[in-house]
């Protein structure tokens, strides 16, 4: 039913969600965790990564030449981007819902991911964009001229 590229994208999507949970739990970016306990997030991450590869390799022949239904390097890069980009969006959305009550104090300008330590992603993004909307003139100056 699914094409090779779809199977590949699904594998990348699931594995990326898993890797993100492992990485943000180690990086202590708590606002992106699906569980409050980092150990659980890491366990979920490992399970998702293993599941993604087992699913991909057990649902059809994967040693296939690109002109016989497999994927060439460009196709892999493109579909990897699709799958991982979607995984990042889904991680941000789900973690923002799960951590909806997580609204820490305002982070300093340019905090980036550090702003998501004690605040969920949507709130941190809204605060950052609001700040930039109000102060874009001064910020652009410092951005380009240090």
């Amino acid at each position: 039913m699914f094409t090779f590229a779809t199977d590949y994208s699904i594998c990348v999507f699931i594995a990326t969600v898993g890797v993100l949970q492992i990485a943000v739990s180690i990086g202590r970016i708590d606002g992106l965790l699906f569980f409050k306990r980092p150990v659980l997030a890491r366990a979920l991450g490992v399970v998702l990564v293993v599941f993604a590869f087992v699913l991909f390799f057990s649902t059809g022949p994967r040693n296939v030449n690109d002109f016989e239904g497999g994927m060439d390097a460009n196709g892999q890069a493109l579909f990897f981007f699709y799958g991982s980009f979607l995984a990042v969006i889904v991680t941000f959305a789900v973690s923002s819902i799960v951590n909806i009550a997580m609204k820490g104090r305002e982070a300093p300008v340019g905090a980036g991911l550090d702003a998501v330590r004690d605040t969920n992603y949507v709130v941190a993004l809204t605060r950052s964009l609001t700040y930039w909307w109000r102060n874009w003139r001064t910020q652009m100056k410092s951005y380009f001229f240090g």
């Binding site: 943000v24 990086g27 892999q76 991982s84 950052s128």
Partner: protein
């Protein structure tokens, strides 16, 4: 030169001769040697490298390292592409009595493009994160070995491919300083969206 080629063939036949002795190992080798398992794992490790460091200053260095690794991969592939254009070596399964655990590629065997790309990433990561980089070099080595075991490459194809990654990454790391101001701005822009 002929002796070297003979030794290469002998080493290939010795390694490939183990195919069929342990069916489970063959299955694992099919997965590892495939175009998907290790390349996806390498790319996932770059995503992890982007997020894994709690300290912003070090995280920024890692994030620049992600760009270094990708550039190193691309340049390694380019070098292999040029060599492939100048010299064509038939695959070992075409000239020797080999057991194949892979599809039948039609491009040149020497040097291995996939292995060069993986070592390009691994050495690129090694330049900024020793522990993760060492793991990735190990993974790339297993990938290279599995490609010989699976019958798609001679040992010299993967050794030269790995060796290409070293000077390429060195050059990319040295050239990093030229691109750092641009990359730093890209990362600072990503911080506005809480992405870096």
């Amino acid at each position: 030169m002929a002796e070297l080629a003979h030794a290469d063939e002998k080493l290939f036949l010795w390694l490939n001769g183990f195919v069929g002795t342990i069916p489970a190992l063959d299955r694992v080798a099919e997965w590892v040697a495939s175009d998907y398992l290790v390349p996806i794992a390498m790319a996932l490790s770059l995503i992890a490298l982007w997020f894994i460091e709690p300290v912003q200053k070090i995280r920024e260095r890692h994030q620049i390292g992600v760009f270094v690794a990708l550039t190193s991969m691309a340049v390694s592939s380019l070098v292999v592409f040029i060599i492939n254009g100048l010299y064509f070596r038939p695959r070992p399964f075409e000239t020797l009595d080999a057991t194949l655990l892979f599809y039948r590629p039609t491009d040149s065997s020497f040097p291995s493009n996939a292995v060069a790309a993986m070592f390009g990433i691994a050495f690129g990561v090694l330049a900024v994160h020793r522990r993760l980089g060492a793991i990735l070099v190990g993974v790339a080595s297993v990938y290279a070995l599995s490609r010989v075991y699976a019958g798609v490459h001679y040992p010299s194809d993967v050794v030269v491919a790995a060796a290409i990654g070293i000077p390429v990454t060195y050059a990319v790391v040295k050239g990093r300083d030229l691109l750092t101001p641009i990359l730093t701005r890209v990362i600072r822009a990503a911080r506005i969206l809480c992405l870096a």
